[in-house]
Amino acid sequence: MAYSEKVLDHYENPRNVGKLDDKSNDVGTGMVGAPACGDVMRLQIQVNGDGIIEDAKFKTYGCGSAIASSSLLTEWVKGKTLDEAAAIKNTEIAEELALPPVKIHCSVLAEDAIKAAVADIKTKRGQEGA
C-alpha cells in the first residue's frame, strides 16, 4: 500500500509522543478505539485557565495512518480553545494527510479522540455540556 509523504513523515517522526498526568485538573484525556479493531488512540491536552490548549500528547496503537492522524492532531490543537479544537473535522485530517478511502476511519478516530479529551476536561472542571 502506498502512503502519502505526509503520512510517512508523521510516521517516521511522530510529533508530541508521550503522556500527561491524567489526574491533573488541567489535563483532558480521550482514549478511543479498541484493540480488537486494530487501533487505539490516547490523546491528552493540557489546558490553561483561559481555556487554551497549551500542550498535547498522544500515543497510538494502530496502522501508519492512525499514528499520523493523531500526530497531526496534536500539532493542530495547540493554541486553540477547547471549542475550536472540538470543531476539528475528520475530513480536514483526511485531506491534509491524503488518506485513501480504506483509511478514513483513522481520521474519524482522531476526531473522536479530541472530542473525548475536550469532554473529559470539561467534566473535570464542572462545565459539562458547556
Partner: protein
Amino acid sequence: MQTPIYLDYAATTPTDPRVVEKMVECLRLDGNWGNPASRSHVFGWRAEEAIEEARRNVADLIAADPREIVWTSGATESDNLAIKGVAHFYQRKGKHIITSKIEHKAVLDTCRQLEREGFEVTYLTPNAHGEITPAAVAEAMRDDTILVSLMHANNEIGVVTDLAAIGAMTREKGVLFHVDAAQTAGKIEIDVNAMNIDLLSISGHKLYGPKGIGVLYVRRKPRVRIEAQMHGGGHERGMRSGTLATHQIVGLGEAARIAKEEMALDQAHSAALRQRLLDAVSDIEEIHVNGDSPKHLPGLLNVSFNYVEGESLIMSLKDLALSSGSACTSASLEPSYVLRALGLSDELAHSSLRMSVGRFSTEEEIDFAAQQIHTAVEKLRELSPLWDMYKDGIDLSTIQWSAH
C-alpha cells in the same frame, strides 16, 4: 546483501536458475516448442518425451506412479478439480465432506460452492497448537462422508498435519482423502502410499518452479474417479483438457527432481535459519509463537508481538519482504481467519508477522532482519498506549473499549 530481504518463501519462491535453464530450452526457436499432443511428427514426440520425464520426476517426489499425475494450472485448480470432481462423481454415495477452518481459500471457497449445491461440509477447528488431530477427523466422520480434504501444512503457521494417521482411517472407512500439499511438496517427505492419500495438490511456484503450473495426483489403485471441470481435447486421460504447457511442465519437473535430490540439504538450511531468527528475536518481551506445534515446516515462523499493530510493524520493516496476518495488508479489515481459528485474541492476531525462509536465504539476511525487528518493535511500543497500560499492570481485558 541486497535489500529488501525476501522473507516470504511461503507466498512464492524464486525460480531456481537450473529450472529456468530447462524452461528456456522449450521456448527457443531451435528448442523443444512442439505440441506434445502432436502424434505425427518429431516436434510432438520430443515435447511429449520432455513431459513424460517431468511426470516421472514429480511422481518420484511423492512416491506415486507417473500415470497418476495430472497437470493443472496450479494448486487452486488442483484443489477445485479434486474436491468438486470427487463430490460430483460420488454424490449418489453421499454428500458429506470434512475439511478444516484453516484451509486455503481455494479449498474453503470450493466447499462453500458445494454447500450451495446441496452438499454438507464439516469445518474442523484446530487445537491451540494449530493441529487438526486424527481424533477430530474421526469424530466428524459419518456414513455419508465421501471426502476428507486437509492441508499437509498450513500456509500461515506452518503446522504439519499427521496425514498417515488420518489416511489409515479414511482408507479403512472407504472415504477419499485429498491433501493440499502446496506448502510441503518438495519441502518435507510425502509418500502417497504410506500415507493412504487419494488425491494431492501441488503448486509449481512454491518449490522453486514456475508459476502457472501445478499437479493433481489422482490414485489409480484403488481407483479414484473425478468429474472433469475443464472439457475439451481429452488431455490428461480426460481429467483436464487443454494443450500442455511444455515449458511450465518441464520447469516443475526439474524443480521436483532438484527438490527430491536436495531435500535433506534444503531442510537443514531452512531449519537452521528459522531457529537463528527465532533465537535472535525471542528476547523481545511479550513475543508469542503462533502454531507452536513441534511438527512444523522447516522454514516458516509466525510470531505476534503483543501491543504492536501488524500493519504499522510491516511499515517499519520496509527493508524486509514479509507478510502480516493482520487486517489492513489484505484489503479486508479482519485479522487472519487462521489465527482466529487458533483461538488467538484479536490483539495478538492483529500483531502477527509471518516470516518464511528458503533455499536462497542467508545468515546475514536473518541477522539483519532480527535487528530490524528489534528496532521496529521498540519504536512502536514507545508509541503504544496499550504497552503503557501493560507496563502499568493494567489488565486490558477489563477495559470497556469503544468499538467502532
